[in-house]
C-alpha cells in the first residue's frame, strides 16, 4: 500500500494501517487512502519547487524513519518533570512520541463546556464528533508532509470549546519525544475547535528527553467560530538532532481573533508552514515569530495568509537571530482576493546576524488583487550596532554579555508577548543559554 511514496518515506505510514486497522471508520479510511495517493503522486519536492527552493530534503530522506505506532507507557509523571515549565499553571496534555498519554495528562478539572481528549481515544468512543472536522481546515489538497500525516493519521489531541465558554487556564500540549532504538517519526494530529464566542489560550510545546534523533511531523488544525478568541503559543524546542515539520492550518470565522506566537529554538532541521484563511469578515490574525538558528541548524518558515474576504486584518511579524553557520528561510505570502476590500495586512521579517557565515533567505510577498487595501511588507538583515555595543561596554559590561543583552532585547519584543510570566522566563532563559554558547564567526 505504500508503493509509490517517495523513497525514504515508506516507513512513515507503513505501520499506521496496521495499528489503526480496527477503527472501522469508512470516512477515515477514505481520507487516509486519498492522502496516501496524494503523497505518492506528488513525489519528493526539489529545489525547483518554489516552496522548497532554499531547503533540501536530502538529510530527512536519508534517515528512512519508521512510524512509532505503539504507545510508550513506561513513563511516570516524575520522568517528565524536566520537561515542565516551573510555575506554569495549565491544563496539561502530554503526548509521548506522538501518542496521547492519559497517565501523564491530568485533565480531571476541566471546566464545563471544554472537551480535551486523545484523538485515538475519541475515534474509538465518539468518532462522529470528528467526522467532517479532520481535514476540515487543511482541506483535501494536501502538501506532501500534511498528506503523510493524514495517511498515517491516528493519534493526537482534540480540543473543543463550546459556545461562549472561556477557558481561564492555558491548555498546554506537550509533545514529548523519547529516544528509541531506531530513528522514529511521530505524526501527531491536533484538532482545536473554538465555537462561537469561546476564548482560550493554547500552548504547544515540542521537546525531547535527551538529544536523540527522531522526526516530528505534526499537523494542527484550528477552527475559530464567530467572535472566538484564541491565544496560541508554540514553542519548538526539539532535540538538537531532531527533524521537525509543522503544518498549521487556521480558519477564522466572522470577528474572531487569533494571536499566535511561534518560537523556534530546537531541531537541526525545522520546517513550519502556517496557513491562514477566513470564512467571515472582520476577523483579526496576528502571527508573531522568533527563531534562533545556530551551527548546522535550519529554520524554515512558510506563511500563507489568504485574505479571500473583505475587512479582515492580519499581521505577520517574524524575527530571527542567526549565529555560527545557522540558516533560516522566511517565505511569507499575503494574498488579497479581488473583492477582499479593506484588507489590512502588514508583514515584517527582521534578522540579526551574529556571524559572517550565517545565512537567511527572506522573501515576504504581497499579492494584491483588490484596490482599497492597506498592505505593507518589510524585511531587514542586520548586525549588532557597534554603537550599542560600545554603549554597554562603556558601562563596564563585557562584550559577550553586552551582545547577549542586545540579542535578548531584539528577541524580547516577541517573548514579551507570551501571556504567562513563567513561560516568558523559560523562553528568555532558553534563548539566553543558546546565545551564551553561540559562536560569533
Amino acid at each position: 500500500m505504500t508503493a509509490g511514496l517517495p523513497t525514504g518515506f515508506e516507513g512513515w505510514v507503513a505501520e499506521a494501517a496496521r495499528a489503526s486497522g480496527g477503527r472501522g471508520l469508512e470516512w477515515l479510511d477514505a481520507q487516509r487512502r486519498s492522502a496516501l495517493e496524494q503523497a505518492s503522486a506528488q513525489g519528493l519536492p526539489t529545489n525547483k519547487d518554489e516552496q522548497w527552493r532554499y531547503t533540501s530534503l536530502k538529510g530527512l530522506q536519508e534517515q528512512a524513519f519508521a512510524l512509532s505506532a505503539e504507545p510508550l507507557t513506561a513513563l511516570q509523571p516524575d520522568d517528565i518533570e524536566e520537561a515542565l515549565v516551573a510555575g506554569l499553571d495549565s491544563h496539561r496534555v502530554v503526548l509521548v512520541n506522538g501518542r496521547f498519554s492519559p497517565e501523564l495528562s491530568p485533565l480531571e478539572d476541566l471546566p464545563e463546556g471544554v472537551r480535551i481528549a486523545g484523538l485515538a481515544q475519541l475515534l474509538e468512543s465518539d468518532p462522529d464528533v470528528l467526522r467532517g472536522e479532520l481535514n476540515g481546515v487543511a482541506g483535501d489538497e494536501l502538501p506532501l508532509f500534511a498528506a503523510l500525516n493524514t495517511a498515517g493519521l491516528d493519534d493526537g489531541v482534540v480540543v473543543i470549546v463550546d459556545d461562549r465558554r472561556i477557558v481561564e487556564r492555558p491548555i498546554e500540549l506537550i509533545h514529548l519525544s523519547v529516544g528509541l532504538d531506531e530513528p522514529r517519526v511521530a505524526q501527531p494530529r491536533n484538532l482545536v475547535i473554538l465555537n462561537a464566542g469561546a476564548q482560550a489560550t493554547l500552548i504547544e510545546r515540542y521537546l525531547s528527553l535527551g538529544d536523540s534523533l527522531y522526526c516530528t511531523n505534526c499537523v494542527t488544525e484550528v477552527s475559530l467560530g464567530r467572535d472566538a478568541l484564541l491565544a496560541h503559543e508554540r514553542i519548538q524546542d526539539e532535540s538538537p538532532n531532531a527533524f521537525h515539520i509543522t503544518g498549521f492550518y487556521l480558519r477564522q470565522d466572522t470577528a474572531s481573533s487569533y494571536r499566535g506566537i511561534n518560537i523556534g529554538l530546537g531541531a537541526r532541521w525545522a520546517r513550519t508552514d502556517l496557513c491562514v484563511s477566513f470564512s467571515g469578515e472582520h476577523a483579526e490574525c496576528d502571527l508573531q515569530g522568533l527563531y534562533l538558528a545556530g551551527d548546522g541548524q535550519l529554520m524554515d518558515y512558510h506563511l500563507d495568509v489568504d485574505h479571500s474576504l473583505p475587512n479582515c486584518r492580519s499581521q505577520e511579524n517574524f524575527k530571527g537571530i542567526l549565529y555560527g553557520k545557522g540558516r533560516a528561510v522566511f517565505d511569507g505570502l499575503v494574498f488579497v482576493a479581488e473583492d477582499a476590500q479593506k484588507t489590512d495586512a502588514a508583514m515584517s521579517n527582521r534578522n540579526l546576524m551574529l556571524s559572517e557565515s550565517a545565512e537567511v533567505d527572506t522573501k515576504p510577498q504581497l499579492e494584491i488583487n483588490a484596490d482599497d487595501v492597506k498592505c505593507s511588507h518589510g524585511t531587514t538583515v542586520g548586525r549588532i550596532e557597534p554603537e550599542m555595543l560600545f554603549y554597554l561596554r562603556s558601562r563596564g559590561i563585557s562584550a559577550p554579555i553586552a551582545r547577549r543583552m542586545l540579542c535578548l532585547g531584539f528577541a524580547g519584543e516577541i517573548i514579551d508577548k507570551l501571556g504567562a510570566e513563567p513561560l516568558r522566563d523559560y523562553v528568555t532563559e532558553q534563548v539566553g543559554r543558546r546565545l551564551e554558547s553561540a559562536p560569533l564567526s
Partner: protein, 251 residues
C-alpha cells in the same frame, strides 16, 4: 589620577589629536573647551576606548595604568565613565536590568559582591532621591523614545549609580533647554566629591555657569593651547575662540 602625554590620534587618515597633554588630580573638575572640530569629542572617545580611532603616539594613564591597552569595559571597571553626547537607544533592553548588569559587572571586577534585587532597588531609590529624579525612566527600555533631557538625565543617573572615579561629560549641555540644563548640572554638582574627578567637554560657557570648573583648557586643532582658571571661560565667552587661536598662531 589621569595623565595624558603627547597624545596623537587619527580617524582614518586624518590626524585629530596632535600632541595633547593633560593632568587631572583627584577631585578636580576640568573643563575642556574648543570650537567645533578641535578634537574635544575625539579626546573623550579615545579615553573611553571607542573603536574607530587610532592612537599613533603618546600615552594616557589612569592611576598609573595604561588606559590605551584596555577594553572599554575594563576602563569602566577601573572607574572611568563617559556621559555620551548622544546616548544610544537600546530598544528592548530594560533600563533597570541594564543598570543592574552594569553595576554588578563593575562590582564584580572590583572584587565586591554582586547586589541582589532588593539591595539594588534600595540603592536606586537613594540615588534617585539625591538627583531629585522620579522612577519613570526605570521601567522603560534604555533611552528608547526618551527626550533629549531624559537621555542626559539618564546618563547622570548612571554616573550616580556607578560612582566613577573619573567622569567625562561629553557636551552634556548640547540639545538641552535651560531647565533641563539646570537639572543635569544640579545632578553633576551633587556628585562632586574630593575623590571624584571630572572632565567637562563643552563648546559653550553656559554649562560652566552651573558646573564651576577648577581648570579650563582650550583645545584647538588637537592640542591644548591655553589653560587657566574658570575666568578663562568667561574671557572666551566674551572674545570668542578666534582670539585665542590667533594668539596661538602668533606665538
Amino acid at each position: 589620577m589621569l595623565s595624558v602625554k603627547g597624545l596623537r590620534a587619527n580617524v582614518g587618515d586624518k590626524e585629530i589629536l596632535r600632541g595633547l597633554d593633560l593632568e587631572v588630580g583627584p577631585g578636580e573638575v576640568h573643563a575642556i573647551m574648543g570650537p567645533n572640530g578641535s578634537g574635544k569629542s575625539t579626546f573623550a572617545h579615545v579615553l573611553s576606548g571607542r573603536e574607530g580611532y587610532e592612537v599613533t603616539s603618546g600615552s594616557a594613564t589612569f592611576e598609573g595604568k595604561d588606559l590605551l591597552v584596555l577594553e572599554p569595559e575594563e576602563r569602566a571597571q577601573l572607574g572611568l565613565f563617559l556621559a555620551f553626547q548622544y546616548p544610544v537607544e537600546l530598544s528592548g533592553v530594560n533600563n533597570t536590568y541594564f543598570l543592574k548588569a552594569a553595576l554588578n559587572s563593575i562590582r564584580k571586577a572590583r572584587g565586591e559582591e554582586e547586589l541582589d534585587a532588593v539591595s539594588f532597588l534600595r540603592l536606586i531609590k537613594d540615588k534617585l532621591k539625591i538627583l531629585h529624579l522620579d522612577d519613570s525612566l526605570l521601567k522603560r527600555a534604555v533611552n528608547a523614545g526618551f527626550s533629549g533631557g531624559e537621555k542626559k538625565r539618564n546618563e547622570i543617573f548612571q554616573m550616580a549609580l556607578l560612582e566613577p572615579k573619573l567622569a567625562i561629560l561629553d557636551e552634556t549641555d548640547s540639545g538641552l533647554d535651560i531647565d533641563a540644563l539646570r537639572v543635569v548640572a544640579d545632578g553633576v554638582n551633587a556628585l562632586r566629591s574630593p575623590e571624584r574627578s571630572m572632565i567637562v567637554v563643552t563648546h559653550y560657557q553656559r554649562l560652566l555657569d552651573y558646573i564651576q570648573p577648577d581648570y579650563v583648557h582650550v583645545l584647538a586643532k588637537g592640542q591644548i593651547i591655553r589653560s587657566g582658571g574658570k575666568e578663562l571661560a568667561l574671557e572666551l565667552e566674551e572674545k570668542g575662540y578666534g582670539w585665542i587661536e590667533a594668539e596661538g598662531r602668533a606665538a
